[in-house]
Amino acid sequence: MILRPLAWQRIVWFALAAMTLFTLVVLFFIIGFITSKGAHVITLKFLFGMPERMGKEGGILPTIIATIYISLLAIAIATPIGVGSAVYLCEYTRESPITRVIRFGADALAGVPSIIFGLFGFILFVIRLRMGWSLLAGGLTLAFMILPTIIRTSEEAIRAVPYNLREVSYSLGGAKSQTIVRVVLPNALPGILTGVILGMGRSVAETAVVIFTAGSSLLMPKSLFDPARTMAVHFYILAREGLSMERAYGTALLLIIAILLINVVAYLLMYRLTRKMR
């Protein structure tokens, strides 16, 4: 069929717009559905109360605390290691078969299903290193899970810093390490933060790893060595065991809000950090 170019343009425009619209509709449907099912559950008692009768009643405070602890722990471990690896790969190695293998390894690792990380963490940290089900074992395993993402996004960000900025620093007498700390990293910061936020989001939302490594205790965790249940796991168990669908939706809604908040806070932080540079 032969169409005039203008007609083609219309069709293509329509098709692309329809795809975008479809995505948005699905997204808003999910958020709307969960909000309508879960909003009425969220009360102060739900947010700040202890769970009763396995979560059928009461609140979800311990799961909120556990979620915060475990994802902050994962980020705190994975960020320095990930950024350090990225700096090493970008600034201290030349492109070679070895760096390509490392990069391929990181990419492959990023694609490994999280349950395999969970099993690995269970065997290594929980059993072998005798940490038991604990926030520490969970945080370490989640750190392993998000490490490849942080390495690769940081690497992209560092490579995107124009080479001539480094040359300016060198030609003013800057050593390589000074150049990295004062020029490369500050300029790569927004990109690095993007990776960290992605990792944080994945940690908050993760279930398989956490069930394997941190357990599903509903008690308030008092130290890093205590087992705990995160919001995502709580949601899974409530729904899976048919304890309370509406409380599951309430938890899910909080989870979505939490991830939204993380993104907003990170965006504001990024804006503050880069304001002086613009």
């Binding site: 124009p162 001539n164 900025l165 480094r166 040359e167 300016v168 620093s169 060198y170 030609s171 003013l172 007498g173 800057g174 050593a175 000074q178 004062r182 020029v183 500050p186 300029n187 002086k276 540079m277 613009r278």
Partner: protein, 236 residues
């Protein structure tokens, strides 16, 4: 791997407190010459050189690299402000040497900006982003930033190639005014600029130094016919 000879048989003297222009068509090794002198070429790719580059009788490879690069500054063809404020740009070099006292830094920043004839234009907005300056202002900022680390030689790699005539004139004025303090090496594509500011001119072609002499001599009575062809615009 590709091996290319970029400079060969180059032998030249640069006297203190003069302006020496290096002219020649593209790919004659002018930029490489500057990068060999301050050893910036070592950060880039594998390279080899034989012969000596002397700075006051000391071979540059024997100097500490940070000392060398402070003594011999380099200004790039496109002005490269570091993302950050005007103040931070000028203070970058001194801070690398752990100068952090506020008043001392402020004095140094003012002195450097005055030297580069930029102070009056920016004195009220030192804490705004250097990226908001115009191209000409940015290039003078780069000169001020180099001055702030107290160099002896300032090398410039086609510093005005992207600038308008007024900005170009301001930079040339700065060079002439600062000849008493610094030695200037100016790589330029613009033979008229070389004629305007230089004491001496070196003409490069395909990696060879063809001729070096007093500016007046190079432009009026060149000894080598190839120099004559270039300065009169027949090749290049």
């Amino acid at each position: 791997m590709g091996k290319r000879l970029i400079l060969r048989g180059v032998n030249l003297d640069i006297e203190a407190n003069t302006i020496v222009s290096v002219i020649g068509p593209a790919h004659s090794g002018k930029t490489t010459l500057l990068r060999v002198i301050n050893r910036l070429i070592e950060t880039q790719r594998e390279f080899m050189r034989s012969g000596d580059v002397l700075l006051d009788d000391a071979e540059v490879r024997r100097l500490d690299i940070d000392v060398l690069r402070r003594r011999v500054g380099l200004i790039f063809a496109t002005p490269v402000p570091l993302p950050g404020t005007i103040f931070d740009n000028i203070a970058y070099g001194p801070r690398l040497q752990h100068h952090h006292r506020r008043q001392q830094l402020a004095d140094l920043v003012e002195h450097s900006l005055r030297s580069a004839f930029l102070w009056d234009e920016v004195k009220d907005r030192l804490s705004t982003s250097a990226l908001r300056l115009s191209g000409g202002q940015q290039q003078r900022l780069c000169i001020a930033r180099t001055i702030a680390v107290d160099p002896e030689v300032i090398m410039m790699d086609e510093p005005t190639s992207g600038l308008d005539p007024i900005s170009t004139a301001q930079i040339e004025t700065a060079m002439r005014e600062l000849k008493k303090q610094y030695t200037w090496v100016l790589v330029t594509n613009n033979t008229k600029q070389a004629a305007r500011v230089s004491d001496k001119v070196a003409f490069f072609l395909s990696g060879e130094l063809i001729e070096m002499g007093e500016a007046a001599q190079i432009f009026t009575k060149p000894k080598d016919p190839r120099t004559d062809d270039y300065v009169s615009g027949r090749i290049g």
